[in-house]
């Protein structure tokens, strides 16, 4: 993401996954805030119903197009988005608050697989990080269900199981 200059994604990680940031509000005010990030999750699903064979989770027969049981999907409903537009990229201003994308929820994909954690632990340790219990693999805004706008569209079929709400 960093190498591809996907700065909107970095802004989302700051505001919506981690949540402890200095940012510029929509009104132009510089703010320091504890937004909660992933801790605001309102629902948790396990298993994405699609073929997937990522590092450390390559357990499923190709022929069956099985889901990947090791992915946990946290659902949050933040009131804003956070991005990092190009004109701010070379400054230390932090992310820019932006209006929430229309009809969406925010999804964060986490893996607790020991092999995945082990593969990332050294790099995290070198960066000064502490104990690692799970790895955030991806995050994105996702179209919301029309039946329950706090959950992703087609949540009944796209995930294997709903763990809590």
């Amino acid at each position: 993401m960093r190498d591809d200059h996907r700065n909107a994604g970095i802004g989302q990680f700051a505001g919506l996954v981690h949540g402890s940031i200095t940012y510029t509000s929509i009104g132009g005010m510089q703010r320091r805030a504890e937004l909660g990030g992933l801790k605001n999750a309102g629902a948790l699903f396990r298993g994405i119903n699609r073929p997937m064979s990522g590092s450390g989770t390559d357990q499923h027969p190709i022929i069956d197009f099985n889901d990947d049981h090791e992915v946990y999907v946290y659902i949050t409903n933040p009131g804003s988005d956070y991005v990092w537009p190009p004109w701010r990229r070379f400054s230390s201003l932090g992310p820019q608050e932006a209006p929430k994308p229309e009809a969406s929820v925010f999804t964060t994909f986490v893996v607790f697989d020991e092999a995945v954690i082990a593969s990332a632990a050294e790099a995290i340790h070198e960066a000064g990080g502490g104990q690692v219990d799970g790895i955030v693999q991806n995050w994105e805004w996702t179209l919301a269900s029309t039946q329950d706008p706090s959950l992703p569209d087609d949540f009944e079929n796209r995930y294997e199981a709903r763990l809590w709400m």
């Binding site: 960093r2 591809d4 200059h5 996907r6 700065n7 909107a8 970095i10 989302q12 700051a14 981690h18 402890s20 940031i21 200095t22 119903n49 699609r50 073929p51 997937m52 064979s53 990522g54 590092s55 390559d58 190709i62 197009f65 992915v71 988005d81 991005v83 990092w84 190009p86 701010r88 990229r89 070379f90 400054s91 230390s92 932090g94 992310p95 932006a98 209006p99 994308p101 229309e102 009809a103 969406s104 999804t107 994909f109 893996v111 995945v116 960066a127 790895i135 693999q137 991806n138 994105e140 805004w141 996702t142 179209l143 992703p152 569209d153 087609d154 796209r158």
Partner: protein, 145 residues
């Protein structure tokens, strides 16, 4: 956290040229992502293999996500990995492999109205990739091997 983020953002120099549309394979989640601009997007799951990425506020496609690339690569290695080919047009990957080989048998099992909805979304993705002249390099695809 601020320091970490600033390192991420400030580590990018003007000389690097900033964002450009590129198809990138993400091994941990086993998908190929093509985004035409650096913006948030709304993911619209079509089926097991395809997700459309919509602009956050407009009815406009800004990208596509092709999922299960390792499966796709392994099942179509002879087509995707012949010598001498340096890149694949993504519209061809979508039309000739994802849709024709993998998705069509699954779509055929659906109700007629659902079938048309999915076919329309595949058509949109193929048109988007063609308009963008989006390609994925053979080296990028091989990362899924």
């Amino acid at each position: 956290m601020d320091t970490f983020l600033n390192k991420l953002a400030l580590g990018q120099t003007v000389e690097e040229g900033g964002f450009r549309p590129v198809a990138r394979y993400y091994p941990p989640m086993d998908f190929l992502l093509y985004l035409k601009e650096d913006c948030s997007y709304r993911a619209d799951r079509v089926d097991q293999f395809l997700t459309l990425l919509w602009h956050p506020y407009k009815d406009e496609l800004v990208g596509i996500k092709l999922k299960g690339i390792r499966v796709i690569y392994e099942k179509n290695k002879e087509r995707l990995a012949p010598g001498g080919i340096s890149s694949w047009p993504i519209f061809a990957l979508l039309a000739e492999i994802l849709l024709d080989v993998l998705a069509k048998p699954l779509i055929a099992r659906l109700e007629p109205s659902q079938q048309e909805r999915l076919r329309d979304k595949y058509r949109r993705a193929i048109q988007f990739a063609a308009n963008e002249n989006a390609e994925v390099s053979s080296d990028e695809l091989k990362r899924a091997a």
